[in-house]
């Protein structure tokens, strides 16, 4: 986002948003689209308010966020560890990399049936798939980051007689940090998506299940309220990570 956004542009941006909401208001009040599918903005807002203040939406949100965060942390840890291991051994890379490239396009949700067979329909099942799916961006980014360590730095490491562990810890990992952080940001997005999918399939408490139930009971305003919350969670998570990224990488040349 351009921090030097001129005031006029921001105002116009808000105006468009307001215009879209006005369009929504018109469409829902005039029933251009059936009320079953399109609730009014006020109904959505009131569902949101009552759900958060008196209902279970706050609890559901926290459940989903917890799932997303836990899965993401697990995935990042495993991804960085495995990635580092694969990256430092060029023979491991040669043998394993093609398989990694093959698995990369696989939709993580396709692992759900297998996970269900192993764990049953419960929270562990969801966590397994979240961790699996969210691991790939971090794993691949870590490998790429390690492999792209400046050859000159490797020579410096050789000249200083750095041990292998010291090289990984002091040079490989920090050098790969920009890639790893970008991978972790992508991983968070994946983690949220799979957490929601998991909740829908395994009837786990959370926003995913909430909006599915709302759809099944034709409660459109609750559905929309849930979608809005999910959008906010995704936006906030991404925004926070971006900030953390900038802070951690402030040594980068402008």
């Amino acid at each position: 986002m351009n921090p030097r956004f001129p005031l006029k542009a921001t105002a116009e941006s808000l105006m468009l948003l307001a215009a879209l909401i006005a369009l929504w208001w018109l469409a829902s009040h005039n029933e251009w689209v059936s009320k079953v599918f399109l609730p009014t903005p006020e109904a959505t807002l009131s569902s949101l308010k009552s759900g958060l203040l008196h209902g279970e939406l706050a609890g559901f949100s926290i459940d989903t966020i917890n799932r997303m965060l836990l899965g993401w942390l697990l995935a990042s840890l495993i991804g960085i560890l495995l990635g580092a291991l694969v990256a430092i051994s060029s023979s491991a890379r040669a043998w394993i990399q093609p398989t990694l490239e093959f698995i990369r396009p696989l939709p993580a949700s396709a692992i759900m049936p297998l996970s269900i067979s192993i764990f049953g329909l419960n929270a562990a099942m969801v966590m397994f798939v979240v961790a699996f799916g969210a691991m790939w961006p971090v794993l691949l980014a870590t490998i790429h980051g390690f492999v792209s360590v400046d050859p000159r730095l490797r020579e410096v490491a050789t000249a200083l007689r750095l041990s292998r562990t010291a090289f990984i810890w002091k040079m490989g990992l920090p050098s790969a940090m920009p890639d790893i952080l970008a991978g972790m940001r992508l991983s968070m997005t994946v983690s949220l998506i799979i957490a929601v999918v998991g909740e829908m399939i395994a009837s786990q408490s959370g926003l995913g299940q909430a909006i599915l139930l709302a759809a099944r009971s034709f409660r459109a305003s609750e559905l929309f309220a849930g979608v809005v919350l999910l959008g906010i969670i995704g936006f906030a998570a991404n925004g926070l990570l971006s900030l953390a990224e900038k802070k951690l990488l402030r040594w980068q040349a402008r």
Partner: protein, 254 residues
């Protein structure tokens, strides 16, 4: 007292002989400048001395022992300082790397870092990141890191080549002062003839495309100009002008 000896060192790369068998010795405390046109193998010779490259013939010996790989006694200063420093560490952190590699106890490090930073006049910038420093300052950080190793021999590969003339002169004088106050032995590769004579106790000129009739080692001349040297009067010294005339031909000018 001989500290480094080159015994018929020959280097082949990609099937071509870059360096024909070359022999000479370096005494403790000497400043050897190595000059030559592009492709004469001066950098490769330096890297062989540092242990990065194994000669295809002959050997480099340090204190009688064959140099089989890099060691902390021989510090190497690269030309591309930007790539040889860790961008995510401060100046202090970069110096510390050398101490960490040598397993210097953490308690001793701050003092040694401070001392070495004062030697290169960067004490005021200890907490800055490389990206915040000028080219000359970054190169001084690299030199400081090399000094922190407390090496016997300092190997420098065109260290001032990427800097502007004024910075270069300033660093040349800094280097001279540093070397005079220590017993460091220096091997200094450059394509700048005046720099080679200004800094060196001895100048070695290499030829490109060696043949049996015209081997790599074209000339080895002592620089009898007294110390201390300075940028103005030394360059007007009759010996300086004489050496410059003698060595000019070896840079590939005909």
């Amino acid at each position: 007292m001989s500290i480094l000896s080159f015994e018929n060192v020959a280097i082949e790369l990609g099937g071509r002989q870059i360096l024909s068998p070359t022999s000479f010795t370096v005494n403790k405390g000497e400043f050897i400048s190595i000059i030559g046109p592009s492709g004469c193998g001066k950098t490769t010779l330096l890297r062989a001395a540092a242990g990065f490259v194994t000669p295809s013939g002959g050997a480099v010996r340090r204190r009688g022992e064959v140099v089989a790989g890099p060691s902390r006694e021989m510090a190497f200063v690269f030309q591309d300082y930007g790539r040889a420093l860790l961008p995510w560490r401060t100046v202090e952190g970069n110096i510390s790397l050398a101490l960490e590699a040598a397993s210097v106890p953490a308690g001793q490090r701050p003092e040694r870092i401070r001392r070495v930073l004062e030697t290169v006049n960067l004490a005021a910038h200890a907490r800055k990141f490389p990206a915040q420093l000028s080219g000359g300052m970054q190169q001084r950080v690299q030199i400081a890191r090399c000094l922190a190793q407390e090496p016997e021999i300092l190997m420098m590969d065109e260290p001032f080549g990427a800097l502007d003339a004024m910075t270069r002169e300033s660093l040349q004088d800094g280097l001279l002062k540093l070397v005079r106050n220590s017993d460091l032995t220096v091997l200094f590769v450059t394509h700048d003839l005046e720099e080679a004579i200004y800094l060196g106790d001895r100048v070695i000129a290499l030829r490109a495309n060696p043949t049996p009739a015209q081997p790599s080692l074209a000339a080895m001349i002592d620089v009898s100009i007294p110390h201390p040297r300075d940028q103005l009067s030394t360059k007007e010294h009759p010996d300086f002008l004489r050496l410059r005339r003698e060595l000019y031909q070896f840079l590939g000018h005909h």
